[in-house]
């Protein structure tokens, strides 16, 4: 049983359509949901969190359709601060205790201590990074087996992002918990994710294990004339300039004699987008 299963998720807005998204997140894994701004990442996540109603499709959390009863199993962090401004961290914990069956008050206080968040401090007095940590403390204090983070690293400095990623790695170390994290900061996801799902303009372009992806592709450096000689169907995406050309290809299809280098996740995504737009 997967932690999260999405089948045929469809949601239409004026000018945009998330069209038939399929996604499976195995237990004990971290999946990064990547895409440019407006790709449909937040739409997918909001559907999982019941914040919007899909036009079509099924979403299951640990084998059960999403509802208020599965919400106990799901901890979430949204991209914006979402607690009353003058409410203290301690008071927030008292409120959360009423909503979540398995609220762990001692665990929550321990997380506040670990994250350096004074219990008496109000939400408005916290910095952006501290607000994110508070949201994470709440999400991690009710026995959630699935953590969903929507652009949780956006707006954080390098150190804060690194801290957050360490916290997430620690969270899944028991092998039973899973994380779905959306971001357009590819480098963050490359550090921690087991799976990468790339969404572009409402469609899933690929979903694969990160290591498989990184070994599957390479970036070929060549002249423009050499690029012309490569079969079009082998070139996933390319960039040309007056100095030469670069193309993303599968390793096995790269022509001999040309300079190739390992493709990072950012390369894979950028060249896929270029290929789509051509």
């Amino acid at each position: 049983m997967d932690a999260l299963e999405i089948k045929g998720l469809r949601k239409e807005y004026p000018g945009f359509c998330l069209d038939g998204l399929d996604l499976e997140l195995p237990r004990g894994c971290i999946m990064g949901l990547i895409g440019e701004n407006g790709a449909g990442k937040s739409t997918a996540i909001k559907s999982v969190l019941r914040l919007i109603r899909p036009d079509a499709g099924e979403i299951q959390v640990f084998g059960r359709p999403v509802s208020e009863s599965t919400a106990d199993d799901v901890g979430f962090v949204l991209d914006e601060g979402c607690f009353p401004a003058k409410m203290s961290c301690e008071k927030l914990g008292q409120i959360m205790k009423r909503f979540y069956r398995a609220w762990d008050a001692a665990g929550y206080r321990e997380l506040l201590r670990r994250f350096g968040l004074p219990e008496g401090k109000s939400f408005s007095e916290l910095s952006r990074g501290m607000r994110m940590k508070l949201s994470l403390a709440v999400a991690m204090s009710h026995g959630a087996r699935l953590l969903v983070l929507d652009e949780a690293t956006a707006g954080l400095d390098v150190v804060a992002r690194d801290e957050l990623l360490d916290i997430l790695l620690d969270y899944i170390s028991d092998g039973e918990r899973s994380i779905l994290i959306s971001s357009h900061i590819v480098s963050d996801l490359e550090k921690i994710c087991d799976y990468i799902c790339f969404i572009h303009r409402g469609r899933r372009l690929f979903l694969d294990e990160k290591d498989v992806l990184l070994n599957k592709y390479c970036v070929v450096h060549c002249s423009r004339a050499e690029l012309e000689r490569i079969p079009r169907e082998d070139v996933i995406g390319c960039r040309t300039s007056e100095y030469g050309a670069e193309a993303l290809m599968e390793r096995g299809r790269a022509p001999r004699g040309l300079i190739t280098e390992r493709a990072g996740l950012e390369d894979i995504i950028v060249y896929h987008i270029r290929g789509e737009e051509k």
Binding site: L51, R98, R101
Partner: protein, 197 residues
């Protein structure tokens, strides 16, 4: 529903102190003038609306929608808060006016008119709030509050309103309020269930 009410009370205590202070002033003035006795009860609904507004602005309303709570429980809790808080104030004022010396006594007719006005008020504004949110339905709320304040002015006129007026309003308003709530509650539930955050 209880968890939503508890959360709203907590938010009110941390964010709503100015409005609570205003309400206390209106209630105190209501000991001496019938208009404020009636207006303060209607104003109590504003407390609940302010909590909803804070929740919308802060994002806590969206957060709550993703927690283990049914949307119907959120809507029902808000009706209970609005009607319950105001009804408690109505009863408290009635008891105080009949116990304490020096305070103009409230008649049972006044109470019935007030309860009816309250039900009409809540039944009109809640569908707008659940559909559009508190901020975007402020115009509606202000217009309806003004209309209810006009009723309060009629009933609370110094020396007492004519019995016939109170009697008429005492039939029309509760009936309208009950019918209004019977329509309003399912409508609000439907709007809020479809609302997207």
């Amino acid at each position: 529903m209880r968890k939503v009410i508890a959360a709203d009370i907590a938010v009110s205590l941390s964010e709503n102190r100015f409005t609570m202070g205003l309400l206390a002033i209106y209630l105190a003035m209501g000991m001496f003038t019938a208009f404020f006795r009636i207006f303060s009860v209607l104003f109590a609904v504003t407390l609940v609306m302010n909590v909803m507004a804070y929740n919308e602005r802060s994002g806590f309303e969206r957060f709550m929608a993703a927690m283990p709570v049914k949307r119907s429980a959120i809507v029902t809790a808000r009706y209970v808060e609005m009607v319950g808080l105001s009804a408690m104030l109505i009863i408290a004022q009635y008891l105080l006016s009949n116990i304490l010396p020096g305070i103009a006594r409230q008649s049972a007719g006044e109470i019935v008119v007030l309860l009816g006005t309250l039900l009409v008020y809540v039944s009109v504004i809640m569908p707008f709030i659940t559909k559009l949110g508190v901020e975007r339905s402020r115009v509606v709320y202000i217009v309806v509050l003004a209309a209810c304040a006009a009723v309060a002015a009629v009933v609370g006129v110094e020396g007492g309103a004519p019995e016939s007026t109170v009697g008429f309003l005492g039939i029309i308003l509760p009936a309208a309020g009950l019918v209004g709530c019977a329509v309003s509650v399912p409508l609000s539930l439907s709007f809020y269930n479809k609302r997207e955050f």
